[in-house]
Subunit: 232 residues, 2 copies
C-alpha cells in the first residue's frame, strides 16, 4: 500500500492491515493463499463495505483497491490504496469498519478470516507476525495523519507522487501511473479534485513533473526538487 512518509528512512511502509507474504512468514498462510479462489473486480466494484460481516481477508493480486470510510455527510475519506501483494480486511471486529473499492479493474484472492484466526490461535509466531505488521501499519497511518494534518497542497501532492514512485520499486523508471481518478487522490489527501488538478499543473509548469496520456501517466523530471517540495 501507499505510505506517505514524513520520517526517515524514506521508505515505504504498509498502510492498511496486512501481513508480510514473504517466505519468512508462516508457510501455512502462503499455502492457503495460493489455493484461495480469485475474484475479479471491475472499476468501482466493492470488495467489501462498512458494516459487512468480516468473513474474508483478501490479498490484492492485480490493480488498486481504495480503502475508505464514508462520512455522515456523504463525503468519502480514502485511508489507503492497496496494491498487489497487500492484504486487506484484517481487523479485530467481526464487521468491516471500512469499505474497499477497486479504482480500476482488479483481482483479489479470498481467505477465510476465521481460518486465519484459528491458525493464529495455535501459532504464536503467526499471531506475533500479525501484531508486528499492524504496528508497522499503524506507524504508516500516523505518517499519513501527519501529512494530511498540517501540510500544504503542494507538499501533499508531491509526497503522494514520491510515494507512488517508491512503491513501484523501479528507481530508474521515472514515470508513475495514476491508476485512480483525481477524486480518489483528492479523497486520500484531504483536498478537492480541483486543487489536485491545479497542483499537478502547477508542478508541471514548474518543470518538476510531466503529465501524459490524459493525465494517467506522470513523469518525475526533477525528483530532487520534488522531494524538496514535499518537505519531508
Amino acid at each position: 500500500m501507499l505510505g506517505i512518509q514524513t520520517v526517515e528512512p524514506r521508505s515505504f511502509r504498509p498502510q492498511a492491515p496486512r501481513i508480510s507474504t514473504s517466505p519468512a512468514a508462516s508457510n501455512s498462510l502462503d499455502e492457503r493463499l495460493s489455493h484461495a479462489t480469485v475474484r475479479k473486480l471491475e472499476s468501482k466494484e466493492h470488495v467489501f463495505c462498512e458494516g459487512d460481516p468480516r468473513l474474508h481477508v483478501f490479498r490484492v493480486e492485480e490493480g488498486v483497491i481504495a480503502i475508505y470510510k464514508t462520512l455522515c455527510d456523504g463525503r468519502r475519506r480514502i485511508i489507503d490504496f492497496a496494491y498487489p501483494g497487500d492484504l486487506i480486511g484484517l481487523g479485530a471486529l467481526d464487521e468491516h469498519i471500512l469499505s474497499a473499492q477497486a479504482t480500476c479493474t482488479s483481482k483479489v484472492r479470498c481467505l477465510s478470516a476465521a481460518t486465519l484466526e484459528s491458525l493464529a490461535e495455535s501459532d504464536a509466531n503467526l499471531a506475533l507476525k500479525l501484531y508486528k505488521s499492524v504496528c508497522q501499519e499503524l506507524a504508516a497511518t500516523r505518517s499519513l495523519l501527519v501529512t494530511v494534518g498540517q501540510r500544504s497542497a503542494v507538499e501533499r501532492v508531491a509526497s503522494f507522487l514520491l510515494a507512488l514512485h517508491r512503491r513501484s520499486g523501479e528507481a530508474d523508471d521515472h514515470t508513475v501511473t495514476l491508476a485512480m481518478r483525481r477524486s480518489d487522490i483528492a479523497d486520500l489527501l484531504g483536498l478537492t479534485i480541483e486543487t489536485v488538478s491545479r497542483t499537478l499543473t502547477k508542478l508541471r509548469t514548474m518543470g518538476v513533473i510531466g503529465v501524459e496520456q490524459g493525465g494517467t501517466t506522470v513523469t518525475l523530471c526533477d525528483v530532487v526538487r520534488l522531494t524538496d517540495l514535499a518537505n519531508e
Copy 2:
C-alpha cells in the same frame, strides 16, 4: 487515549498502541505491571523520544502523555493523548518512532519491552491480544485521520471536547478538564493556538460550552448541540 470518533457506535477506542489491562487479559502482563517501577514526570518531561532504543513499554498511571512526531521544519504533530490505563511504547521496531511527553505532572509504570515480547512468543493468546488491540488502535487513528483531514475548526474542537467527555466516563458530570495547553490541542487537531482559542470562545458565546478556571475547565452546557456541531 482519546479517540475522536466519526463512526457509530460513538464509543471510544484506544488511540495508541496498547493492550487491555482488564482481568480478561493475560495475567502475566498485569502481574508484571503491578511489580513494575513507577516513574514520575514533570510537565513537559519526556517519557521517550523519537530514535531512542525501545527498551520499555509504559502504562500511564496518572496525568496525560502526548504522543507526537516532530516535523522537519520543527513543527509538532500530536498523534494522541494517553490517559491512565493506556499502554504506550508498543511497536514493531527496536526504536521509538514517536516521542512521548507529559502535558502535566504524570506517572508511568515501566515494563521491559523484551520481556513482553518473549512472553508473547510462547503465548499465542497474548500475541493475539496484542494484534487485536493494535487493530483497534489502527481503527481509531484512522478516525482521527478522518477528523483532521476534512473537517472545520468547529467540528474538530467539538469532536475533541466530546471525546474528552466520553473518555472521563462520567456521563452525569458535564465538565471536562483540559489537562493540556492550547498548543497541545492545536497540534492534535492540526490547527493553530489562536484558532483553538477563538473556536472555544465562539462555542462559549453560542452558549454550548462554558469555560472556567483560567480555561482549564470546560462545561458542556448543550451536549446535543455540541454533537450536532461535531457533525459525527
